[in-house]
């Protein structure tokens, strides 16, 4: 099928190009550091990238919302770069798309995680000097590398000979995620023997930077060697980033008020005068690429890359068994939990006078653990093996993920003539993730037991208590695996064919992509509640999808362009949406559908010397989407897996961006992103209990025409830039971010949610989505560069200074939030588990100094 289309389109294009006059409008961006086969390549200065990196308010990947990166290099896409640099305060997402529509490729190998569709941006953050060699394709436009993603596709070309030759020392001081960054980068261009080398290391450090108890430590590295033999370029690239950092938590308005002046995080507490954070994350997944590129004289080019990676990632968290909840922000500990006004006042005063009580009490956990002795019977499943054990009531656990990946990409493209380009791409990705819990710290006791406390609460002394029936009543020491232990093995094979041709007045392209997805779950524990379907391999899952994208650009003249692009696609559901509860069993959802996507965009681009303008309209429809989440359900008194399926969404809007050169030193810019992202039907929900074998419960979620939450649907920017001839730049931007709705709790929009509503209370009080107040933030950026003469005549060192200040008006505001998924069904009370928010207080800045030797 694909082949026929390609042949057919190429033939048509070929004929047209033969008969067309040979006065094609040549539009070439010259960039020696980007693969020459990529026509749409873009170069950006190092400074642009610095803005992108520095403007990230948070690159925390473990917030409840999926991490959406700022576009690393939005290039000359004026709107996308404005969004990346200025709309981060509220986590703006291009066109409101979910995270899996923003994908990263390194040396053309797709990096996406096949379990959840995310891209591992953290693997190369910290390599600023290297990763600025990237190409970003936005929206549905032509993509020379393949099909690409719907939102944006970032292609990092990380080969020594493609990078800007440099010897750079960098230093950053800031008060965002980290306090300091040091980096050293060396890129040696290709020598006469055909060798090129590049290396970079970066270290980022921070402690208590904005949030007390926060910690950040990252070491990133990069090494690449290129060898050119005739027309063949062989590359070896190794990169990685080890991150050890604290995770942030959203808090309720009540906690924000209780904590008063300072930023509040419930995740830490003092242990021997040291701030200890219970929610840390560790991440390391080095990537190795072996690439080959070849361009022959007849215009045929091959690009092949082979990719390997082994990684580990873990988050720590507290676990407890038959003991009080140790989290200081637990709702039962807050003043609002008290019905009696006197007691409420007492609790309130207590926290006001002793703010340390709002932090984790490590000392108490240790002393409880040391005093805790329990007679455990039939230890390790040996009848009569009974012992008095110093069992932890509290432990710190690692929720770990071990990954192994490999993949390859082969891309063949041929410049048939100066008008016609055809290409074919094959991607293969194989990924294996093993998920388990591990004892990180027993906090003063000698053992923990591999029991399931949720099952214990329901049926004491039952086999369901056992997390692993193969090893019942197992005593755990530090490092032991417990709780759950399973593996997902996934693969995706993609074949795409594309064609593009440049006519006198028109550019046309078409791409077709076919993909096959496979995955299987393997359980390594036999869960006491699900003894029949927790252990061993699940049945394989296979999905086939097809995507088609086409577009046409009308080139009125070299300054004015009009374009229309369209997309039709199907998408396989993510593995973690297909299994109702992969931690405990291999049961699948009863209805599993491919998501159907239709996308359309049209626009106008003006590229005049004094005015650059881009107007774009888009309309995207998603049908039969799926989305799973896990949370504590108050009705079931258990962890539940809540799946929404048959979700229909519509995203439409306008993106306008303009830049005027007002004067030879003054420049003005503006951007408008006005969108509407809504649900267009009543999706279905299915609830499966994590630790109880209840039948799955189904129902309707009444959210038709509800806004999709988690990002501002409207964003506006106005800015002025002064640039002196002496390499000084000052830019001030005002940004208005509007229509941010909190991520919905679907449970509140079901029949059950309003059944117990008191008669005087309106249904809307429970179902109405919550909107954040609109936000105005001002940003300032300043840059200055100068040169320092060296000992050698006519040779100079360049020094670049760059300062970025966010939130100039020194406000405190909410950056984002979500409705808690836990909901008090019995009393139809939304305030028992109120919404949670991420806060930012005060001005934040980053100052970067680069020394180019």
């Amino acid at each position: 099928m694909k082949r026929i289309v390609v042949v057919f389109v190429s033939y048509g294009c070929f004929l047209t190009s033969i008969f067309a006059q040979s006065k094609a409008i040549q539009q070439k961006v010259k960039n020696q550091f980007v693969d020459s086969s990529v026509a749409a390549a873009i170069v950006t200065s190092g400074i642009d990238l610095a803005i992108g990196e520095l403007n990230q308010v948070s690159d925390d990947v473990n917030t409840s919302q999926p991490f959406v990166p700022s576009v690393l290099n939005a290039g000359n896409h004026l709107f996308a770069s404005t969004a990346a640099f200025h709309f981060g305060s509220r986590r703006y997402r291009l066109r409101g798309y979910a995270a899996d529509h923003f994908q990263a490729f390194v040396n053309e190998v797709p990096m996406i995680n096949l379990v959840d569709g995310s891209s591992p941006w953290n693997n190369w953050t910290g390599l600023n000097e290297i990763v600025n060699n990237s190409t970003v394709q936005i929206g549905l436009s032509y993509n020379a590398f393949g099909f690409g993603a719907m939102g944006s596709s970032t292609y990092l070309q990380l080969k020594a000979s493609k990078l800007r030759p440099q010897t750079t020392l960098s230093f950053i001081n800031g008060n965002r995620n980290y306090r300091y960054r040091f980096a050293f980068t060396k890129v040696v261009p290709m020598n006469k023997n055909g060798w090129a080398f590049a290396g970079s290391i970066g270290i980022r450090l921070g402690e208590n930077v904005q949030m007390p108890g926060s910690f950040y430590q990252s070491q990133s590295f990069f090494l690449s060697v290129d060898k050119k033999i005739d027309q063949h370029l062989f590359s070896l690239t190794l990169l990685g980033n080890s991150i050890y950092s604290s995770r942030s938590s959203a808090i309720t308005k009540e906690l924000y008020a209780l904590a008063g002046a300072s930023m509040y995080s419930p995740n830490w507490g003092f242990q021997n005068d040291q701030k200890r954070n219970a929610n840390m994350q560790k991440m390391i997944a080095p990537l190795l690429f072996l690439s080959h590129g070849h361009t022959s004289e007849d215009g045929i080019s091959y690009n092949n890359s082979l990719f390997f990676s082994v990684g580990e990632r873990s988050n720590t968290g507290l676990d407890w068994y038959r003991a009080a909840d140790p989290r200081p922000d637990y709702y039962r500990y807050l003043p609002s939990f008290q019905n009696d006004s006197l007691l409420q006042l007492q609790v309130n005063d207590l926290f006001k006078n002793q703010p340390e009580l709002l932090q984790i009490n490590w000392q108490q956990m240790y002393s409880i653990n040391k005093n805790s002795f329990e007679r455990i019977n039939d230890i390790d499943g040996i009848i009569g093996n009974n012992r008095l054990v110093n069992r932890s009531n509290y432990i710190l656990e690692d929720r770990a993920e071990l990954s192994k990946k490999w993949g390859f990409v082969t891309r063949l493209s041929q410049q048939v003539n100066e008008r016609l380009l055809i290409g074919a791409t094959i991607h293969y990705q194989w990924q294996q993730y093993r998920y388990f819990k591990k004892v990180n710290d027993l906090l003063g006791a000698t053992n923990y037991v591999d029991w399931n406390h949720f099952a214990d609460a329901i049926k004491p002394n039952d086999p369901s208590l056992q997390n692993d029936l193969n090893r019942p009543n197992r005593l755990l020491s530090v490092g032991d695996v417990f709780g759950y232990d399973y593996q997902l093995e996934l693969s995706k094979l993609t074949a795409a064919g594309n064609i593009s041709c440049q006519l006198n007045r028109f550019d046309v392209f078409a791409v077709l992509e076919l993909a096959e997805w496979n995955f299987v779950r393997t359980g390594f524990m036999q869960n006491g509640v699900f003894s029949n379907n927790s252990f061993g391999k699940s049945l394989p899952n296979r999905f086939s999808t097809a995507s088609f994208k086409t577009g046409i650009t009308y080139k009125y003249n070299g300054r004015n362009y009009f374009y229309v692009n369209g997309l039709l696609a199907s998408k396989a559901p993510n593995a973690n949406d297909v299994f109702v509860s992969p931690r405990t069993r291999d049961t699948k959802q009863t209805v599993i559908l491919l998501e159907k996507i239709v996308g359309l965009e049209a626009g106008y681009i003006l590229n005049a010397p004094s005015l650059k303008l881009r107007i774009n309209g888009y309309l995207s429809s998603f049908k039969d989407g799926m989305n799973a989440s896990t949370f504590y359900h108050d009705g079931y008194k258990n962890l539940v897996n809540y799946l929404l399926w048959n979700i229909h969404q519509l995203h439409f809007g306008t993106e306008i961006a303009a830049e005027w050169q007002l004067h030879n030193r003054w420049r003005a810019n503006m951007a408008i992103g006005a969108g509407k992202f809504i649900y267009t039907n009543q999706p279905m929900f299915s609830v499966a209990i994590d630790n109880e074998d209840y039948p799955t419960e189904d129902g309707i979620v009444y959210i038709k025409h509800f806004p999709i939450g988690g990002m501002p649907q409207q964003a506006y920017n106005v800015g002025f830039t002064y640039q002196s001839p002496s390499s000084f730049l000052l830019s001030i931007n005002g940004n208005y971010l509007a229509n941010y709705w909190l991520t919905l709790n679907p449970l509140r929009r079901t029949y059950e949610a309003v059944r117990n509503l008191p008669p005087q209370q309106s249904i809307a009080s429970v179902t109405h989505p919550e909107k954040l107040p609109d936000l105005f933030v001002a940003d300032l950026t300043a840059a200055y560069s100068f040169r320092v003469p060296t000992k050698i005549k006519y040779a100079y060192h360049f020094v670049q200074l760059f300062l970025s200040v966010n939130n100039l008006l020194n406000q405190s505001f909410i950056t984002g939030g979500y409705e808690q998924l836990r909901y008090d069904i019995e009393n139809a009370n939304t305030q028992k588990f109120p919404s949670k928010y991420y806060y930012l207080k005060g001005l934040n800045y980053a100052l970067s100094i680069r020394l180019r030797l």
């Binding site: 021997n272 040291q274 009080a324 909840d325 039962r332 009696d340 007691l343 002393s367 805790s372």
Partner: protein, 448 residues
């Protein structure tokens, strides 16, 4: 020059990669908690004395009481409550939290600052709490202390040895004994409440069983449906119980921490002590005749030899031997009449045996609950009882009767049968003949 610099920087890059710092934070373990330097200045007895019946009072002043935890929510039989006692008395403290047993294990010394707490009674049971709920003015209730305020009012001292219960007689159970850990001896559940679940685990409801004390008096055993032992069955015997003494109105109640608070395996005292359910001493049987007592069965499964009557020194008994039977297998069943165990508990079987010229034949004792009383007992299910049977008298008759031991029939209900089964053989030319003779007497089942 340039070359050298380049080489240095390359070395730097490579070194940094290989000396990749991977320093994760390590935290020292905090020193063990050694208790708090604080003195109590008030006794629990004085606190209890301050209570005016029917009144709810906020406590004011710098009084501090101390006590040792004697009960908590470890088995969920106590809900949001811990009980502490000092040498003068005990008090229940209502705490609005779960997993209290972790913070307040049994044996933990606590100091409680009374200033700001409330004292009041629920059904006559005195409690300490954080406030009073007057939402129903005719039934005000103590509000448990909110979890965040625990540390404001309650300070932990050292962990001490588990407190011993106070042995007490029923007539001394007064309101001043509320919330004390007490032990009552010679106590048993009334027959109707024996072998019943402690609590109602299905409906999560509290159940009260009646305990009778042998010397008179009765008290309720109260167990929550949430208790981890709620579905376990109550014991049938007599013995000792340890628990927290509580009241509800005029009812006296005991609440146990878990089933190890019960030691009730002895014979019941009710209805005039142990009762004889069955007795057979064979004094009425004819000598040298096959036994045919009314209700008994004497069945030869193989070999045609039956139990017969015998006498020595004026004492009659049953006897069997395979000797001179000329049979490859002698298998004989002597089955008791049906015996009903439904109206008693703690039944115990005992009997006497003697062996003679022992060469390996066996006498085994089995019990059945599904034997139909017919002539094919081997079709029923028989359970072997662990008994002591005389053996080893190779050259003559055992000099004295051997006691079987007291064999508990706990676990058997309804109608039972006891069988004495003999197995032996005696073929004229065989090498290993098993012809041991057994004498059996004084078969007795006691129960109450």
């Amino acid at each position: 020059m340039k070359n050298k610099r380049s080489r240095i920087s390359w070395t730097l890059v490579l070194l940094s990669i290989f000396l990749w710092p991977s320093c994760y934070k390590n935290f020292d373990e905090p020193p063990a908690y050694t208790g708090i330097a604080i003195q109590a200045n008030h006794s629990i007895r004085a606190l209890r004395m301050a209570h005016i019946p029917g009144n709810f009072a906020k406590l004011i002043g710098n009084q501090i009481i101390t006590g040792i935890v004697v009960a908590n929510d470890a088995s969920d039989n106590f809900y949001k409550t811990i009980v502490i006692q000092d040498s003068t008395g005990g008090i229940s403290v209502r705490l609005d939290g779960f997993g209290l047993a972790a913070d307040y294990p049994i044996g933990q010394r606590l100091f409680i600052r009374l200033n700001g707490l409330w004292l009041g009674a629920y059904g006559g049971m005195l409690q300490l709490g954080g406030g009073v709920d007057n939402s129903n003015p005719s039934f005000p209730e103590i509000i448990p202390i909110p979890a965040p305020l625990f540390s404001k009012y309650i300070l932990a001292g050292k962990k001490e040895a588990n407190p011993l219960p106070m042995k007490i007689r029923f007539e001394h159970l007064k309101d001043s004994m509320q919330s004390r850990l007490v032990q009552i001896d010679s106590i048993e559940l009334v027959a109707a409440d024996t072998a019943k679940p402690f609590g109602d685990a299905i409906n999560k409801a509290t159940v009260s069983h009646t305990l009778n004390i042998c010397n008179g008096g009765s008290i309720y055993l109260r167990t929550s449906g949430f208790a981890s032992f709620a579905s376990i069955k109550t014991p049938r015997g007599n013995g000792t119980i340890t628990g927290i003494y509580t009241v509800f109105g005029s009812q006296k109640q005991l609440i146990i921490r878990d089933t190890s608070d019960l030691a009730m395996n002895h014979l019941r005292c009710t209805n005039g002590g142990p009762k004889q359910l069955f007795f057979e001493d064979f004094e009425s049987i004819p000598i040298n005749k096959e036994i045919a007592i009314h209700g008994w069965k004497n069945i030869a499964e193989a070999g045609g030899k039956l139990f017969s009557g015998n006498m020595s020194s004026g004492n009659r008994y049953a006897q069997i031997s395979a000797f001179a039977s000329n049979q490859p297998l002698v298998s004989t069943w002597l089955i008791s009449p049906p015996i009903n165990l439904n109206n008693t508990s703690n039944e115990q079987l005992s009997f006497l045996t003697k062996d003679a010229f022992d060469n390996g034949a066996s006498l085994q004792v089995f019990i059945s609950t599904n034997y139909d009383g017919g002539n094919s007992p081997w079709k029923a299910k028989w359970t072997l009882l662990k008994t002591i049977v005389s053996k080893g008298s190779i050259n003559g008759i055992a000099p004295r009767w051997i006691e079987s031991g007291k064999i508990s029939l706990n676990g058997f209900n309804n109608t039972i049968y006891i069988v004495f089964k003999y197995d032996g053989n005696d073929l004229p030319n065989a090498v290993h003949n098993r012809t041991t003779a057994f004498q059996l007497d004084e078969i007795k089942i006691m129960g109450n």
